[in-house]
């Protein structure tokens, strides 16, 4: 069984193998297909039209399926690798070991935001940004720019306490757990972390930064934590909702998986802590 671990607990060997699997997916071109898919959904998911990957109830099951597919790709390179998660309520500064040269590398330099250390730095020539929205082909970050702060544990708890998964109008204006976690309303958890990292993470092509996967693995864990805390709550809406993925509707681009299929993560992986 695949066990997803807190990135702060990984051994040097586990970090090295995870990084090497990322670099191999990048070298083969498989990595960039994930970036393309994500950006395509970011640009087409709208509050008043069809919405699948973002700003809608299926934000959580869509990304769960997306991460499972990515984890499978990593494991096809190295079966020992699993997706680590980044608990940004605990590892909340640019001095975290997450950003060290032996793992993801650090923040970008002042002049142009370019990441200059670690395996994904431009100088290593192993991480060219191919799927991009502007002319820059190097990884950029601006960790904590402008004095921004990552969400706190108390803010996470306030979202986990919500009993209702999601509410009409099932978009960025909704009340409920999903939208407070996604971040269009209230304490703003997921969106704020994208902005805190900056660079490509703030754009529609955010999976260009490998930290995307560690961030979303934690968002995914928070969904599992919420499920454990509210066993009588379930995914909403149930059926018959225009432009929105109901519990039993299939999700693009796979068209063979529904939110109902994604409710039990333990069929695919577990976490290193009791959920």
């Amino acid at each position: 069984m695949t066990v997803r671990k807190n990135q702060a607990t990984l051994s040097a060997d586990e970090k090295r193998r995870f990084v090497n699997a990322l670099l191999e997916l990048k070298r083969s071109g498989r990595y960039d297909t994930f970036v393309t898919t994500h950006n395509a959904f970011i640009m087409s998911d709208t509050d008043n039209g069809d919405r699948v990957g973002h700003r809608s109830p299926s934000f959580l099951p869509w990304h769960r399926r997306f991460l499972i597919q990515f984890e499978e790709a990593l494991r096809s390179v190295d079966p020992a690798v699993t997706l680590p998660y980044w608990d940004w309520t605990a590892d909340r500064t640019s001095r975290s070991s997450l950003w060290a040269p032996d793992f993801l590398g650090g923040t970008g330099r002042a002049r142009d935001g370019q990441v200059t250390d670690g395996p994904f730095a431009r100088g290593g020539n192993r991480w060219t940004i191919n799927v991009r929205v502007d002319g820059r082909d190097y990884l950029r970050r601006d960790l904590g720019a402008g004095g921004r702060q990552l969400p706190t544990r108390a803010e996470v708890e306030s979202a986990l306490a919500m009993e209702t998964y999601d509410t009409a109008p099932w978009n960025s204006a909704s009340d409920g757990f999903r939208n407070h976690l996604e971040g269009w309303r209230g304490v703003n958890l997921h969106n704020r972390v994208h902005v805190w990292v900056g660079g490509q993470m703030g754009t529609g092509a955010s999976p260009n930064d490998p930290v995307f996967w560690l961030h979303h693995a934690f968002v995914d864990k928070l969904w599992a934590d919420w499920q454990a805390r509210h066993p009588r709550s379930t995914y909403l809406p149930a059926a018959g909702t225009a432009n929105v993925v109901d519990l039993g509707d299939t999700m693009r681009p796979w068209n063979d998986v529904t939110p109902a299929d994604m409710l039990d993560h333990t069929r695919h992986y577990t976490f290193d802590t009791a959920a």
Partner: protein, 130 residues
Amino acid sequence: MSSITRRRALGVAAGAAGAAAGLAAAGSATAAAPRATAPEAEPAPASFDEVYQGRRIKGGPSHGGDHHGGHHGGGYSVTIDGRELHVMRNADGTWISVINHYEPVATPRALARAAVRELQGAPLVPLTLA
């Protein structure tokens, strides 16, 4: 490197994902998604045309069909040095772009300025693949 349209990009995306899912028709379904409309209660934002930090930024009602990049700004488009910035209006009337996707701002002008600051002189490009 070739620039590709959104429809093509979605086809590529669906094909990539479809390698596992066995599905290739998702692209056309998405490309045919209806254009979003601005919330009825929100007034149409003002047009603007200015030079900001050396970049020409323009915004106003858009005309014509759903060509490259698509329009989800409720019939409003923004350009930087003549190149389209993909923008989207949120249900609460705020705005995001493909450059600043996760941080809504109040107006298209503020959105264009935020993109200029983020670009640090780099040109916008249509979604590209190597």
